[in-house]
């Protein structure tokens, strides 16, 4: 039985490794909120769970291959049944309304693909300014990241 809901950095890491192997062209995505925090934690070898589970990840992409995978992983999909959480594609417009976490603390990383494509997660976007209690908890959790 897979873990229900999203809480551990390795869940995001494994998901992106899997998608990196399914695309044929280099692609980028931006992870908003907890998904992005978990990815960066995974890059630092941290496997501390988020204080509150998440039910989805909110990526932004301009890749049709990644968007197609996203459409196969929406709420109610087989992906959700398998993983316990789903993908909620967000429009690029949201990036103008949220602060980008950038700088050496959040380096980009190339993800090689078995089929020659590459997935380049971009610095994530924080939801802390939304100000929900969960956002504040996750922002506090993120201070552990190197």
């Amino acid at each position: 039985m897979p873990r229900r809901e999203l809480r551990y950095p390795s869940q995001v890491e494994n998901w992106l490794q899997d998608w990196g192997g399914k695309i044929h062209e280099p692609a980028e995505l931006v992870l908003i909120g907890s998904g992005g925090l978990l990815w960066h934690a995974a890059q630092a070898g941290i496997e501390i769970p988020l204080p509150e589970n998440s039910m989805d990840v909110d990526p932004v992409t301009d890749s049709d291959e990644v968007a197609f995978l996203g459409y196969e992983a929406m709420i109610g999909s087989e992906f959700e049944k398998e993983h316990g959480w789903h993908v909620n594609l967000m429009p690029a417009q949201v990036l103008n309304e949220m602060p980008r976490l950038a700088g050496p603390r959040f380096p980009q990383k190339l993800r090689p693909s078995a089929r020659g494509g590459s997935l380049y997660p971009r610095p994530p976007v924080s939801q802390v300014e939304r100000g929900e209690p969960r956002d504040k908890l996750h922002a506090e959790w993120a201070t552990q990241l190197p």
Binding site: D64, A67, F68, Y71, E72, I75, F79, P91, Q93
Partner: protein
């Protein structure tokens, strides 16, 4: 005021942006149409009624502002038209 209004609905914008992106891919377009026209899809009937409009905005080479302007000249708007793009329920 932007195309999407003072209080944009991100779900509508996402269906429009990613719908346009996927529409360019023949296989994705075929699967989207099959999904939306399936009798099991709760919006299938509504989609049939608005199919030409949905196709128009997904296929249009115009940018958002130009497309909105074109629709407004016919008493429509991109904001309203995007609402007619059915959601994907489960997967395609």
């Amino acid at each position: 005021m932007t195309t999407w209004g003072k209080y944009p609905n991100y779900r509508d914008i996402a269906r429009f942006e990613y719908g346009r992106l996927l529409w360019k891919n023949p296989e994705a377009r075929r699967r989207l149409l099959a999904h939306w026209e399936s009798p099991d899809h709760p919006h299938a009937e509504r989609f049939r009624e608005n199919k030409s409009l949905v196709r128009e905005i997904l296929e249009s080479p115009l940018g958002e502002a130009e497309l909105d302007s074109s629709l407004c000249s016919r008493a429509l708007s991109l904001r309203a038209a995007a609402r007619e793009i059915p959601p994907v329920l489960g997967s395609i």
